[in-house]
């Protein structure tokens, strides 16, 4: 009987965690380049066996998280340094803590003409940070970035944006500020203009879908309620059992 209370409790706890994850998704519904997270509970295949042995109560549940890397919609901004990646891949930025990867291409220029992220970290090209030469005297202050990520300023090619590809995106962990940190190897390459295309003047919206998150929130809230009812009913039954011995 006590086990039943634990089982109902295991229905409560992952849902609380899931609500926190959904709350974060919904808070970031307007965050450029944001990728939604989700939590799922996995029941281990040998739970039945473990339970038969009498020690399988809660050990049979795994709470797993995954990040959904599906593409957000493209939003036209018209700014020359707003970039979006259509297709797979990430921009690479050099931060004091090492290289970070992002889908947020809301870039700007630093005083010395280096292309930087909105926090001021240099965006990496194939040969390191991309610096526009002679920015003070640039007579033609036009910067153009083509579909392959080639940066052209003042009619000259300055560099090519590095696009990091991850065959296994599960190595990416979130680091805040729409940055990802890689736990494993990346394959750094450039946009090929076909399967990975750089769009100048566009930003990638958050891939959070309000309706989907709402449905999940209703589902988990109802699931939480039934687990709570189960627990109360288990508690009531135990109460009755305790009354049996009374004279």
């Amino acid at each position: 009987m006590i086990k039943g209370i634990y089982a109902a409790g295991s229905g409560l706890m992952p849902r609380m965690l899931k609500l926190e994850v959904i709350a974060n998704n919904l808070a970031n519904i307007s965050t450029t380049g944001f990728k939604r997270d989700n939590i799922f509970v996995q029941i281990m295949k040998d739970t039945g066996v473990e339970q038969a042995k009498g020690n399988g109560d809660l050990s049979g549940l795994k709470v797993r998280e995954y990040t959904d890397f599906s593409e957000g919609s493209m939003n036209q901004t018209g700014n020359k340094l707003d970039l979006a990646i259509q297709g797979s891949g990430f921009f690479a930025a050099e931060t004091p803590n090492g290289v970070r990867y992002t889908r947020n291409g809301s870039f700007s220029l630093s005083t010395d003409g280096t292309i930087v992220t909105s926090q001021g970290y240099p965006v990496l090209g194939t040969g390191g940070p991309i610096q526009l030469p002679n920015i003070q005297n640039l007579t033609q202050g036009e910067i153009s970035i083509n579909e392959s990520g080639e940066v052209v300023a003042d009619g000259k090619k300055i560099g090519t944006l590095q696009i990091a590809q991850f065959p296994d995106t599960s190595v990416l962990k979130k680091d805040g500020g729409t940055y990802f940190v890689a736990d494993g190897d990346s394959k750094s390459s450039v946009a090929d203009g076909k399967s990975t295309v750089i769009r100048q003047g566009y930003l990638e919206d958050s891939n959070v879908n309000g309706i989907e998150e709402m449905v999940q929130m209703i589902e988990l809230s109802r699931g939480f309620e039934s687990a709570q009812k189960t627990m109360i009913s288990q508690d009531g039954t135990l109460d009755k059992a305790n009354d049996v011995g009374k004279l």
């Binding site: 409560l12 609380m16 965690l17 609500l19 926190e20 994850v21 709350a23 974060n24 919904l26 808070a27 970031n28 519904i29 307007s30 965050t31 450029t32 944001f34 281990m44 295949k45 473990e50 050990s59 049979g60 795994k62 709470v63 797993r64 998280e65 901004t77 018209g78 700014n79 340094l81 809301s106 700007s108 220029l109 630093s110 005083t111 003409g113 909105s118 526009l132 920015i135 003070q136 640039l138 007579t139 033609q140 202050g141 036009e142 910067i143 962990k173 979130k174 805040g176 500020g177 309000g210 998150e213 709402m214 929130m217 809230s221 939480f224 309620e225 709570q228 627990m231 109360i232 508690d235």
Partner: protein, 262 residues
């Protein structure tokens, strides 16, 4: 659970700021030379929770990491410097820039500010000034007996004086442009000041390479697109609402949890 409450609150705060910016854009839908802003958001830091897990082999304990985010933060409100519509006004002192560039305006403190608003006037001293009375660089003074003024596409200002039939050149307007105009700091009054992010101004004549041309007797309308602002407002309102639903759900669940103990 409290984290979910705080996370949803950051979402509501962010959307409120989003609506503030949309409201300012819509309020300036008829402001000459106005450039619309948008709110840029980023996710806050993530907290890594370790949950224990038993693998298929009961002797091996593994830890699974779950990252839970803490919400969102507005980081910037970049402006879009997309061209606004050119509206003819028939006023000889109205000038619109078609393309890149800003007029240079000398502020009362001597520093230079930059503007896309070309609704100029003539001061009592015959100087070309903005509607607020600040001098348009590089400082043009019209003869006192001027009968008509015209501005050419390259910024040349010609004046016809009384008793003459051919206009004579008074001076030339110079444009300034920036490598990263988004980095400019808006100070109100349709003016911007340079910042480290915008870079130094690059000066040049209108119509020269990389600079826009001047459209005489017209003004540049605000580049606010009412339809897309309305769409953004609906999106922001719904996002605000959905974050408030999160708070409601957290509250319901906490009530249920509190009711566990009878």
């Amino acid at each position: 659970m409290n984290r979910a409450l705080r996370t949803a609150a950051t979402g509501m705060f962010g959307q409120q700021l989003n609506v503030d910016i949309i409201a300012n854009n819509l309020a300036n839908v008829n402001t000459t030379g106005f450039k619309s802003s948008r709110a840029d958001f980023q996710d806050l830091m993530y907290q890594t929770l370790k949950t224990s897990e038993i693998s298929d082999n009961p002797n091996v304990q593994q830890a699974t990491e779950i990252q839970v985010g803490n919400g969102t933060i507005p980081v910037a409100t970049p402006k879009s410097f997309a061209q606004g519509d050119i509206t003819p006004t028939a006023n000889p002192l109205d000038v619109a820039i078609q393309g890149d560039g800003f007029f240079q305006i000398r502020q009362p403190d001597g520093t230079t500010a930059y503007s896309r608003d070309g609704s100029f006037q003539i001061s009592g001293e015959g100087e070309l000034v903005t509607a607020q009375g600040n001098i348009v660089e590089p400082g043009l003074t019209l003869p006192s007996d001027t009968t008509s003024v015209s501005v050419a596409q390259d910024g040349t200002v010609n004046a016809t004086v009384a008793g003459q039939t051919t206009p004579s050149k008074v001076g030339q307007l110079e444009l300034a442009k920036f490598v990263n105009p988004v980095g400019l700091n808006p100070i109100g009054g349709n003016l911007y000041t340079e910042t480290p992010a915008s870079g130094k101004p690059i000066l040049g004549a209108a119509g020269s390479e990389g600079f826009g041309t001047l459209m005489p007797q017209s003004l540049e309308a605000s580049n606010v697109d009412v339809v897309s602002e309305m769409v953004n407002m609906i999106v922001a309102q719904r996002a605000y609402e959905i974050n408030s639903k999160t708070i409601q759900t957290v509250e319901d669940m906490l009530t249920m949890a509190n009711n566990l103990q009878r």
